[in-house]
Symmetry: C2
Subunit: 373 residues, 2 copies
Amino acid sequence: MTALDQTLPHFHAIIPAGGVGSRLWPLSRAEAPKFLHDLTGSGHTLLRDTWNRLQPLTGDDAIMVVTGRAHRVAVLEQLPELAEANVVLESEPKDSSAAIGLAAAILHRRDPDVVVGSFAADHVISDAARFRAVVAEAVEVARAGYITTIGIAPTEAAVGFGYIKTGETLVVDGAPTAHLVDRFVEKPDLATATGYVESGDYFWNAGMFIARADVLLAQLAETRPGLHHGLMRIAEAWDTDERDDVVDATWPLLEKIAIDYSVAEPAADKGRLAVVRGDFPWDDVGDFSSLAKLLSGGRVGDLAILGEGARVLADSSSGVVVSQSQRLISLIGVSDIVVVDTPDALLVTTRENAQRVKAVVDAIKQAGRNDLL
Amino acid sequence: MTALDQTLPHFHAIIPAGGVGSRLWPLSRAEAPKFLHDLTGSGHTLLRDTWNRLQPLTGDDAIMVVTGRAHRVAVLEQLPELAEANVVLESEPKDSSAAIGLAAAILHRRDPDVVVGSFAADHVISDAARFRAVVAEAVEVARAGYITTIGIAPTEAAVGFGYIKTGETLVVDGAPTAHLVDRFVEKPDLATATGYVESGDYFWNAGMFIARADVLLAQLAETRPGLHHGLMRIAEAWDTDERDDVVDATWPLLEKIAIDYSVAEPAADKGRLAVVRGDFPWDDVGDFSSLAKLLSGGRVGDLAILGEGARVLADSSSGVVVSQSQRLISLIGVSDIVVVDTPDALLVTTRENAQRVKAVVDAIKQAGRNDLL
């Protein structure tokens, strides 16, 4: 273990484990969302990989998981080390401001000096040591009072991610890459993305936020006072007998809003948002096309294959096959294809059309076939 | 019923029901070969459609089916009218000369004046009345002593069929389109096929042969005396107690050869082969690409769908989907695709690559996975 892998005092990770991952249907389902799948062929679910990546910085006792009630058992099965006190169950999804805000508020009551870092349960990061070094740097910037994000150094002109434009340099001890964030930009077109990458002033927005809990909550109080108030009420009751009553009365009323809009963008406007450079391979595995890129093992020629015991016969084909059945899958002369074979649903599309999978999910929803979602 | 739909005296149809249809894997299997499938969405198997098409010319008692022992039950289930005397079971496949030759020899012993007509169990013909009129014409030519084939008037420059070049006009009563056959040609390239179709001198070879049984057998005796001898021995014993013994002793020794080579081509060379014009829609459904063309019902946009209770969601896709499972099949943005979904095997290819399906079957054979064939 290197020096960087020692636990960081007063640092507590938050893993929001929500979101089905509609663009990964029919692999991802309501019952088995993206974070409960092994999407890289590592042998671990993305959630377990996230835990393993963070644990050297936190130990077993300083990682909190926020997830839906329906996923409690599956999450604990993946993370047997996870303490009951670090499980926050949502009765219904309320987006990231409520999930991360509640975790921050609970942790702040337990430790007023806590620095929290929020890391999605369903992203793929392949250099864990480098990741931890960058988180350690972000924690230094957070201790200096900034809400801090990790901007991913872009390796190509991706159009599937949002971007972060860096502003002036910040001088913080132990944080050589720290800058203020100038602004966030939504997914660009290819020409714009190319300009961003060439300029060197832009990072990919990976949605990771590290901040002192008090700073985070103060920003939320300023921007979304109603939501902040509700979260503080729940946090006060959390470690008491009144938890369930207060949650039942309050949670359903909370505003649904992404933390990007409630905290990050307003903080950037006020010069309170910092960014450190994340120079590790990262992907949010937003669709089956990214999956094709990420899978390195289990290839047949130019075809990436995911699935235990997958049986694939491929003749001049490329793309990705996900096999969740024991059926023989034969491909002949199909390029950049996406085949996802599950016991009750089959998807055939191309990498180019991978983003359109969500439309199928919407069609199934409209048809009332929730058993397939 | 028109005059043409009256039964033809001394005419006996032979339906060779063999051949798995490898290019239609994984729909066609050893256990459920092509002729036992409904490939047009008609609600009938191809075998049943073949029977229905011929029956008005023959009645129930003048159609003989030659098939493998393994398919006896399935064939009788499809054709409950089929008399035991009209079932010829092969202990092992011996190609079309043996199958048709044996049927002809048995029928010749029962009726020396019989005219036999051989019609594959797994072709698709959509104008049955026109088909019967053409068969009636061919029977007239056969009665005049010619081995007669039905040449299909080509509707496009197909490269997937063999062609028949017509020779001089034949004058036969009741057979206005009769010509001698000049020669047979193998599947041509596109330029050659285009020339053939433009010339008007070529037909598609649909492998239908109509002849007096004595003429057919005499031709076989001339070209393949050993095979002829074996078939005559079996035919002599067929309607006696010795059938099984003689079959067991003789059948395994018979030469495997297509009737095109043992009878049709040699007869053409000697000016004994005639052709009448088949101006009805015909297809041998050689692969999934032809299937896509043939399926008229059950379409979702540009997608042809085959399979009872098929559930298909298609977004800007074209091609053909065959569904033999109850799974939901979703296609997004795939053109000229072929998806064949069965309980234990899935095939994804394109119409352009449909002929290459046989290579997959060969690979499975080599892998010793006969359960999938």
